[in-house]
Structure formats: structure tokens, C-alpha cells
Symmetry: C2
Subunit: 155 residues, 2 copies
């Protein structure tokens, strides 16, 4: 019996096409991989069912929505800090990512905000107010050279 947890070259091709442009018609994908649309659709459905494909997203332009400034904030946590801190961090204004990191015994946040003023306000009035936060170190992004979620399928 075929292993249901592997993907073959055709799946690879399909996913590469979808990673380039998620809104390409099925028939077009089928043409590119040389199969019938129905077969391609069946494969995509299976990739979804098996969890290889998690979902489909729209990507908005942050600048147009007053979120032109990105920043990373390292948060050092006090010993014996409340476990609820992580959940609180996800609720902070502008926070898009919360990662628990090793080495620093803390969290790394990615934020999108309007400008330095808003960032300062958030740091002062929201982050520093949370129980368990010992200190923060902020890296302001001057320029984003690359930002993608694409996964390199060829390795």
C-alpha cells in the first residue's frame, strides 16, 4: 500500500505553482503539470486533508493600513513568571508573532505599528505593564529586504 504521508514530484510541482500564485485556476495548474483538472483537484484536496496545505491567505499592504513600521522585541522574563504571560503577549497591539526562545529565557515578538510614537506607547503602556516582564530590547526594522513564507520544497 502506498504511504499516505509522502508527496511525489507532481505534488511538488503543484505546490510550487500554488506558492507562486495561490489564485491560479485549477485548469491552469493541470495544464502545467500535464494532468486533467479533476486529478489535480483531487491531489490538492488530499494535500489539504493531510495537513500539508494549512490554508489560503490574503496578503495586505501594511503601509496602506498605517502599519509601515516593523519591530522585533526581545522580552526577558522574570524567574517564576506567570505562565499566562505568553497569552497576554499575543493580545498586545500590533503583535503579529510571539515566539518562546531558548538562550534568553524569554520571548521574541514581531510587531507592526504605524510609527515610532506608537511603538513607544505600546512598549511603555502595554508591554512593560505585564506581570513577569523583566526587560525588553527592541530592534527597529529600517528596511525589509526579504519577507516570505514560501518553503523551499527542493531539499
Amino acid at each position: 500500500m502506498k504511504n499516505e504521508r509522502t508527496i511525489d514530484e507532481i505534488d511538488h510541482s503543484i505546490l510550487e505553482i500554488l506558492q507562486e500564485k495561490a489564485r491560479v485556476p485549477n485548469a491552469e495548474v493541470a495544464r502545467q503539470v500535464g494532468m486533467a483538472p479533476s486529478a489535480v483537484l483531487e491531489r490538492i484536496r488530499k494535500l489539504e486533508d493531510r495537513g500539508f496545505i494549512e490554508g489560503y491567505e490574503v496578503r495586505l499592504n501594511p503601509v496602506e493600513f498605517d502599519q509601515g513600521l516593523a519591530a522585533f522585541v526581545h522580552i526577558r522574563v522574570l524567574p517564576h513568571a506567570n505562565g499566562a504571560l505568553a497569552a497576554k503577549l499575543t493580545e498586545v497591539t500590533g503583535v503579529q508573532e510571539v515566539h518562546q526562545v531558548a538562550g534568553e529565557d524569554g520571548y521574541l515578538l514581531k510587531l507592526r505599528v504605524a510609527d515610532n510614537v506608537e511603538l513607544g506607547t505600546i512598549l511603555r503602556d502595554e508591554l512593560m505593564m505585564l506581570d513577569g516582564v523583566e526587560s525588553t530590547r527592541t530592534s527597529i526594522v529600517l528596511n525589509t529586504i526579504k519577507e516570505t513564507r514560501k518553503i523551499d520544497l527542493n531539499r
Copy 2:
């Protein structure tokens, strides 16, 4: 004449629906916002044309593609470093993001790799080999609590 660079409450609603689930049928969006499908489509096209919507993406499950480990790498750059460094960084294996950051005079990278072994290899054989790199500091992600690109439209 109406300002072509603003979006109204209806656009907001549409974008919120799309941010929840990018693959919702037009007619369903229309129903939710109480308009005709043709009108909704017209609005979406304009949002695309004006650059508010940058594109549509498929989100793959990194774990299934042997990229279960995330890491952030701060790179400190030597004075007078070659300007080509940034471009080189984007080509490094597993690199999804490259941000030029203030304060540290360097770059912040986000990587997705299979495991610690691969991460070590990349740091040693790829990153440290690049001209202009003075030092690196790596934060290994133990647990990602939140990771989204959604933009809060209500501010």
C-alpha cells in the same frame, strides 16, 4: 470627487472576511456585507489595483516539509561592509526574512530549517563565510505561540 486612496467600512468588512479565509466565494462575501456579488467583486478588484491587497498565498505546514525548527539570527556587520551582503543573506538556505535593523547596525534573519544540525551547518558554512559578517547571535524558537500576518483594520 471621491478620494481614491481611502477605504470605507464596506471595504473593511470585505478585507476582514478575506483575512479570515481567503478562499471564500464572492457571493458569500456579498451576502455577508449585504451587497450584490458584482459590486463586491468590483471593490475587491479596486483594492487589488490600488495596492491594498498585495496578493494571495497558500500557507504550507513547515513540519511536513522538514522545516519544523524556526530560528532568528542577529548579524552584526563589520564597518565598511560590502553593500552586497544583504542580497547574499536572502540566498542563504532556509532564510525566510531579512531585515536591516537599527541599533545593532546589522541584520535580523528569520530561518526555517529541519533541526539543530542543519541550523549549525548553515551558520558555520554559509553565514559565517559571508564577507562583512562580524558576528552572529542566534535565538532558537522553542515554541511559536502566535504567527500571523493579519492586519488589525480597526485602528
